[in-house]
């Protein structure tokens, strides 16, 4: 065991896989010499050489499109897109090709690749560096979309993602890249993709969240506990496919659900989870399930971000409102 941040845990996962599988290559902007702007790939080029870990020209569409070429011809590429706001030049490749190649070729060509990028707000960043576009990717058939909330999960999920035969969108909550430290095994381990985790059991209300919002929910839940409210917290971990079973069991038990996420609320993961709650637990509901999410606005720059970012206060407010409904 060793104390790791999420950055370190992902780096460790990449290191383990590079070491055991020579078909893996890692590339993207600044990932080689510099080790990535967040240092997630630090030291890997020195260790595995510049033909396995390297800087690419600045062109996201080409980064993803060439990775598809590699993936259908025997390699397992892991590509980094520098920020969520810079994934969109690659969107055409992702939507029109990466997600479709397996189906289009009737299974002749699999696309074993991982597209990883930091996302999310709360870091006082410039525009295009604070967004949460998970729903945009989750809406594309053929992709799996996962988001860890702890160093331990990040490592196990990253190794599982690399070993998956499907294209995986691996979104990394940059706000907690270094904010959470945790004992993580240095050995290889995987976590099943597609499974949510019950972080804390409770009986009055289900709170579903993921990524950096788990920590904010935990703060709110401590306040709720003092107010005598028993909250069950679910870390979704996999955006697509969604873990219906865990949501069903929890909402049937508590009868209440709120979804906490940073993304714009309309047409979001929150909307999807409410559909699941309705479909799976309609007759058990005691309050309308609600989204506690970002506004349908551009994420404001630093001075206005306090309004947009979901605070523990706001989560507690919504928990209490639902319980008192």
């Amino acid at each position: 065991m060793s104390v790791m941040t999420m950055v370190k845990a992902i780096n460790n996962a990449l290191d383990i896989k590079l070491n055991e599988d020579s078909s893996i290559v890692i590339y993207g902007e600044d990932v080689g010499v510099e080790g990535g702007v967040f240092r997630v790939t630090e030291g890997l080029q020195q260790k595995y050489g510049a033909n396995r870990v390297f800087d690419s020209p600045l062109a996201e569409s080409a980064i993803v499109g060439t990775a598809l070429g590699m993936a259908v011809s025997g390699l397992r590429p892991i590509v980094e897109l520098q920020f969520e706001g810079f994934t969109f030049p690659a969107f055409n490749q992702i939507l029109s090709n990466v997600a479709r190649m397996q189906n289009r070729s009737r299974g002749k060509f699999g696309v074993p690749m991982v597209i990883r990028f930091p996302y999310g707000g709360g870091v006082n960043a410039l525009e295009h560096h604070s967004d949460s576009p998970e729903a945009l990717f989750a809406h594309i058939p053929g992709l799996k979309v996962v988001i860890p909330s702890t160093p331990h999960d990040a490592k196990g999920m990253m190794i599982a993602a690399i070993e998956s035969s499907d294209p995986i969108i691996f979104m990394e909550p940059k706000r907690i890249y270094r904010a959470i430290k945790q004992e993580v095994s240095e050995e290889k381990f995987t976590l099943p993709l597609g499974k949510a985790k019950v972080v804390k059991e409770g009986t009055d209300i289900t709170v579903v969240a993921f990524g950096a919002m788990i920590r904010e929910c935990q703060k709110a839940i401590a306040v709720a506990q003092e107010a005598g409210i028993s909250v069950e917290l679910i870390d979704l971990r996999s955006i697509y496919p969604i873990d219906r079973e865990t949501i069903r069991n929890s909402v049937r038990k508590t009868g209440r659900m709120i979804v906490v996420a940073e993304a714009h609320e309309s047409f979001s993961v929150g909307s999807e989870l409410i559909a699941v709650a309705n479909e799976e637990a309609f007759l058990y509901l005691e309050a309308p399930p609600r989204r506690v999410m970002g506004f349908d606005t551009i994420v404001p720059l630093a001075q206005g971000e306090k309004y947009y970012i979901i605070s523990p206060d706001r989560i507690f407010y919504e928990i209490e409102k639902s319980v008192k409904f």
């Binding site: 902007e29 600044d30 702007v37 600045l58 606005t297 720059l301 630093a302 206005g304």
Partner: protein, 369 residues
């Protein structure tokens, strides 16, 4: 096809032969007398002052960020000759479609340091340059601005306006599809757009040689049928000549031009970046010898044009700039309306609902205290 009336300087400095336009050398000596733009002393002094102002403002911005009084900032140091030469050729009615490292040109166009500071303090009002005509907000998504510039060029041509579009990109941006697509459209449409590649040698950590196998960046113009030229970006006179020539060409209906300004990012990519991870001190020192301010100053001194009390001027600028920073820093006003109010010309009911519910939360929070 490139037209026959191509200005001589674009013919003489053929990027295919990797020639670079230069008027003065690092010592400030004139190396190409024939090409020295006819500028009177006052204009040259003004150019130096503008470059100095940008330099001081930039250093102060980095320092405010280091003091924790401002968020992430993108330094301009070393690239002032490009910015001011463009600024002196761009007219009020001309368009500026920036990337994000052209501060001197934004200032020349009428932007203020107060606005710059407000933007880097995390307030969108700072980035809008509301009172400056024909300036788009800075473009952080790399290369996307090229298309906007070409579209504006089409508008200008369609409306038969006497306007020229100045747009910028970095060396890294030339790898994006938008770079090539934009130049291609500009070539087909023959629009009055001056494209500048600020080749400062690095896209964050990635050097130009890892970005392209081309002999230089100006040469990329050739495939699109646009005149291109590689210019010493740290030579104010060379940059001035390039912009003057390109604007006259664009104004007279010649069409688009591509200028590679060969320069060096003396600072970090942003204040979050640490260049020591990917380049050597000796390299920075070597490029420091080509500093555009030092070169222009040496020229002015040897030509007897220099009449500036630089220390006094720096103190004056520092006071002015600090006053603007403090004004921006003291502006704490960021109402909730600023989050919602600018999304649509007519706010949809759905957004009104979200705002109302949020305000209910705010008043709950207030009462709870």
């Amino acid at each position: 096809m490139i037209q026959n009336d191509l200005p001589a300087v674009f013919r003489d400095f053929n990027p295919l032969e990797d020639k670079m336009l230069q008027v003065i050398d690092n010592e400030g000596n004139v190396v190409n007398k024939k090409l020295m733009p006819a500028l009177d002393d006052e204009t040259i002094i003004d150019a130096y002052k503008q470059m100095l102002y940008e330099r001081i403002a930039d250093e102060m911005a980095v320092s405010y960020q280091r003091q924790g009084r401002m968020y992430t900032y993108t330094p301009n140091i070393g690239q002032e000759a490009i910015h001011i030469a463009a600024g002196m050729n761009i007219r009020k009615e001309d368009w500026l479609v920036p990337a994000f490292r052209e501060m001197g040109t934004l200032l020349a166009k009428g932007g203020t340091m107060k606005e710059m500071f407000l933007f880097y303090l995390g307030n969108e009002h700072g980035g809008s340059f509301r009172n400056v005509r024909h300036v788009l907000p800075i473009a952080i998504s790399i290369g996307t601005q090229f298309h906007h510039a070409v579209g504006i060029g089409y508008s200008v041509k369609y409306q038969k306006k006497d306007e020229v579009v100045f747009t910028f990109i970095g060396d890294g941006g030339t790898s994006e599809g938008d770079f090539s697509e934009g130049l291609n459209f500009a070539g087909v449409w023959q629009v009055p757009v001056i494209f500048t590649i600020q080749n400062n040698q690095y896209a964050i950590s990635v050097p130009v040689k890892a970005q392209t196998n081309s002999v230089n960046l100006a040469v990329k113009s050739v495939a699109f049928g646009i005149p291109g030229i590689k210019v010493d970006g740290n030579d104010f006179f060379a940059m001035y000549l390039a912009y003057k020539t390109a604007s006259e060409y664009a104004r007279s209906g010649g069409g688009a031009m591509l200028i590679e300004a060969f320069t060096y990012r003396l600072g970090a990519h942003t204040t979050s970046d640490d260049p020591s991870k990917y380049r050597k001190k000796e390299e920075e020192t070597m490029w420091g010898l080509t500093d555009p301010l030092i070169r222009l100053k040496r020229y002015m001194q040897s030509e007897g044009v220099w009449n500036i009390d630089e220390e006094k001027l720096i103190q004056e600028y520092k006071l002015q700039i600090d006053a603007q920073f403090v004004e921006a820093e003291n502006n704490k006003s960021y109402p909730v309306d600023d989050v919602f109010g600018h999304m649509y010309t007519d706010m949809p009911d759905e957004l009104k609902r979200q705002k109302m519910e949020y305000e209910q939360f705010l008043s709950w929070k207030e009462n709870r205290r």
